[in-house]
């Protein structure tokens, strides 16, 4: 009770209503596969008056991953930025520019050595000494090498940062690599991959919460992905699964079968080979996900999916 009141006061000071906050904590704990009893503990962890510092780096990307973060509704992005985290550097959102933001980034790294969470989106071009991507005159490769090893842990947001993604698709014109590949075996900092094109922001939030709650990163699969989000295939969680079992398939877009929501396997769905929680958490406040919109899954959270899982409209 004592603890609860204190939490209310702190939430109040942050301008967040306790009810809304607990609602979001319950959704996050559900996504993470935790018992509902964890919700208050999540709330407690997130209400810490000292907001955990985050440095967000963007490399060879399309900004879709940052945009995905802006769509976060559990919690809303304004709560993440103002009340929960201390976003020390993020190019798309920073008020300042040029030398001023470069100084802010350097100051944050110096102020929180080994204590900040680094989030990276975009691949890192490594061909020709990395000249295909620069910020402030430094290559992405140099910037990653300067910042990432000083982080507490680094989260790769999206398939490009995780595994190279689209820039690394054949013929990989810029020698693009995922962060871990680009920095090599010397990197001692733990790295978590949150792949997807873009990923669901709740999986990033869940990973951060896991750390704040348990003081460690979530359990990962062999591809560096949190098991709470990437533990099962799309196919195993698909609401259209019974149509697959019954042999009820869509064979042409716009057909009666398509209108009836039959299985998209024969249209090229990569759900059987793709690990992600899209069917259960869905996107944009749980509004929909690609299969619900009648389109086959393209396997966007799998390494090298642009080459390995295409052509996309051909059955597995």
């Amino acid at each position: 009770m004592e603890q609860g009141n204190d939490l209310s006061r702190r939430l109040d000071r942050k301008g967040v209503s306790r009810r809304d906050f607990l609602k979001f904590c319950t959704i996050v704990s559900g996504t993470m596969g935790l018992a509902p009893a964890f919700a208050p503990r999540i709330a407690e962890a997130l209400a810490n008056p000292r907001r955990p510092p985050v440095i967000y780096l963007s490399f060879a990307e399309c900004t879709g991953c940052s945009e995905a973060l802006l769509r976060s509704s559990y919690p809303w992005i304004d709560e993440l930025v103002l009340d929960i985290l201390s976003l020390e550097y993020h190019e798309t959102l920073m008020a300042g520019a040029g030398a001023q933001v470069e100084a802010a980034k350097a100051a944050a790294v110096a102020k929180y050595p080994g204590k900040f969470i680094c989030v990276v989106d975009g691949a890192i071009p490594t061909a020709d000494k990395g000249i295909y991507g620069t910020i402030g005159g430094k290559t992405f490769l140099e910037i990653a090498g300067e910042v990432v090893p000083k982080s507490l842990a680094t989260i790769c947001m999206g398939t490009c940062a995780s595994y190279g993604g689209l820039p690394a698709a054949a013929p990989n014109p810029t020698g693009a690599k995922g962060l871990k590949d680009a920095l090599g075996a010397d990197l001692k900092v733990p790295v978590v991959n949150i792949p997807g094109c873009p990923p669901n922001p709740i999986n990033l939030v869940g990973t951060v919460v896991n750390y704040l709650l348990f003081g460690k990163l979530p359990d990962l699969d062999a591809k560096g992905r949190p098991l709470f989000a990437y533990g099962k295939t799309i196919h195993d969680q698909c609401p259209r699964r019974s149509h697959f079992e019954n042999g009820e398939f869509v064979t042409e877009f716009g057909s009666k079968e398509a209108r009836m929501g039959y299985c998209l396997y024969q249209m090229g769905c990569k759900g059987p080979e793709t690990y992600n929680n899209c069917p259960t958490v869905k996107f944009n406040e749980g509004t929909s996900w690609p299969v619900q919109a009648g389109h086959p899954c393209i396997g966007c959270s799998e390494p090298n999916f642009w080459d390995a899982l295409s052509p996309f409209y051909q059955a597995l």
Binding site: A68, G137, L166, P167, A169, G254, S255, W289
Partner: protein, 546 residues
């Protein structure tokens, strides 16, 4: 004596951009725009299934998500000679409308507003006075004294924590900020409100597109969301649209007018001369024969003389870009390959090429669209533009400016939001009459070419495909930010943003806030803008336009 200023990175944009200017006597006397990222999407597209192209090209940009997907399916629709059903056209237009609304809201509040709004000054505001001002300009909610007090308290708590996050090292207190503390508070409150509104607006994409960013319901031949064309989904879309429209009418437009009123001097800064748009929102039958926003080109600011557009007049130059060769003269001669030298504003200084129309740099985007529509007497545009000019008490010539560009973006947001109401009702009528077609089957030809011309939030966008052996032989994108932010051309003529920056007043060269104002008014999107154009890329004008 002239002084050089380099701003790298330019923040609050998509992608990686470096701006260098020369300042003499307190004004910008020369400027160079450099894109510092190269991914090579066209090379990745070669040899793939043409039906997959849209999924790849959509990843040209995640801020202007959807638009490269749409351009690509239109382009391949053209190559396979398919006419999509009415419902598919309406769904595609509605999703495009959503993209305009979302993109422009985020641009105004989250990418551009902090150039004009001093967040720290909002702490000094009197909330009661702010409430009074807010109620005078708009019927929007959340405008009571207690609302502004709450925002101010939240902001104070944030500042007092010492963890300033994204507001660290902003240009707070800069002499170029002109808003009174109360207007700064109102705008800051709306900055935060818009952070939630944009997520709600993007939800419309998820209703018929599965998710946002990167919608996944398009296919060559139509759309896939057949099962979502039901009363529940349409109501959901309508509700979200109504909510967005209310925000545009009651918050965005009043804020634009209120803020612009304090910055009328920016109606004479940051202008360019030539404008190009392909037009958008096909209203019937085969795309793009009928367009809600018209196609046209304007030279030397002669708005009354809108000319037709001939894509054969487009060329791309590489003299100042990091590619082999000198000038896009004859496309058949030689390949264009990436060839980084060094950052040298006297020589080569960008991964972007320099597109020119009839040899001239052309501004694309909201201002180009609004000027072309205005010049062609487009009813809704004329009414909206005249209304804004009257309210701000500024002449038509003030449109050729940073202020005009920002105002045009808001004006077209409202025009498109209004038009979407009609498109939703058309869809409802079709479904009521039993027309539920969403896809037209087609055969992939052995060899073909296709073009997709669109106008997207940031401007004129063209995709070109050449199919051989049922595979992509060549694919090319000529995109808005390349037009606006590309470097000098073979004739050393500056690109639009380079031209626009000249004459910009600079109060404090160490804190170049004014540069951001003009650069941001173009809403740069750099990942989109950088493309390698290989043997095919220079062949824009060889493609057949059907």
């Amino acid at each position: 004596m002239a002084q050089r200023i380099i701003v790298d990175p330019i923040t609050r944009i998509e992608g990686h951009l470096r701006i260098e200017v020369e300042v003499a006597n307190g004004k910008v006397s020369n400027a160079w725009s450099s894109s510092t990222l190269f991914r090579g999407l066209e090379l990745i597209l070669q040899g793939r299934d043409p039906r997959d192209a849209w999924l790849i090209t959509q990843r040209a940009c995640g801020v202007c998500t959807y638009v490269h997907g749409l351009s690509s399916v239109r382009c391949v629709d053209d190559a396979v000679h398919v006419t999509i059903p009415e419902n598919a056209r309406l769904i595609r237009n509605l999703l495009m409308g959503v993209q305009f609304l979302h993109d422009h809201l985020v641009h105004f509040y989250h990418l551009h507003a902090l150039d004009w709004v001093d967040v720290v000054s909002a702490l000094k505001a009197d909330p009661a006075k702010a409430s009074k001002i807010a109620n005078q300009v708009s019927p929007a909610g959340n405008s009571g004294t207690s609302d502004f007090k709450a925002v101010q308290a939240r902001l104070r708590k944030f500042v007092d924590s010492g963890q300033l996050g994204i507001f660290t090292n902003g240009y707070w207190g800069h002499p170029a900020y002109k808003l009174p503390p109360e207007v700064n508070l109102i705008a800051t409150a709306h900055y935060l409100e818009a952070l939630r509104q944009q997520a709600r607006t993007a939800r419309m994409h998820a209703v018929f597109g599965g998710k946002n960013p990167h919608v996944q319901s398009l296919v060559v031949g139509g759309v896939t969301c057949a099962a979502d064309l039901n009363p529940d989904r349409i109501s959901e879309f309508l509700y979200l649209h109504k909510e967005t429209k209310a925000f545009v009418d009651n918050v965005y437009i009043p804020d634009l007018l209120a803020v612009a009123g304090f910055y009328k001097d920016w109606g004479a800064i940051g202008g360019t001369s030539n404008f190009l748009c392909y037009g958008e929102f096909p209203q019937q039958g085969k795309e793009p024969d009928s367009l809600f926003l018209p196609r046209g080109a304007i030279f030397k600011r002669e708005v009354a003389k809108v000319q037709g557009v001939d894509v054969a007049k487009i060329s791309e130059h590489v003299k100042h870009s990091w590619y082999e060769g000198d000038q896009a003269k004859n496309p058949a001669q030689g390949e264009t390959r990436p060839a980084f030298t060094k950052m040298d504003t006297n020589d080569r200084y960008s991964w972007m090429k320099a597109p020119r129309y009839n040899g001239e740099p052309m501004e694309v985007g909201p201002l180009a669209r609004v000027l072309v529509a205005y010049g062609k007497g487009h009813g809704p545009t004329k009414k909206a533009v005249d209304g804004v000019l009257k309210k701000l008490n500024i002449p038509v010539t003030a449109l050729f400016s940073t202020l005009g560009r920002t105002a045009a973006r808001a004006i077209e947001t409202q025009i498109i939001a209004d038009a979407m109401d009609g498109w939703i009702m058309e869809l409802v009528e079709n479904l009521k009459s039993g027309n539920d077609k969403t896809f037209t089957p087609y055969e992939m030809p052995e060899e073909s070419t296709g073009v997709g011309l669109n106008d997207v939030p940031r401007g004129a966008l063209g995709h070109w495909v050449e199919v051989k052996g049922k595979k992509i032989h060549n694919y090319q994108l000529v995109v808005p930010s390349t037009w606006n932010l590309g470097p000098r051309c073979g004739a050393d003529k500056p690109g639009p943003v380079e031209q626009a920056l000249i004459g910009t007043p600079i109060a404090d060269p160490k804190r170049p806030l004014e540069i951001l104002r003009t650069v941001h008014s173009f809403d740069p999107c750099i990942a989109c803008g950088v493309h390698v154009i290989d043997p095919a890329s220079n062949e824009v004008y060889k493609f057949r336009v059907s």
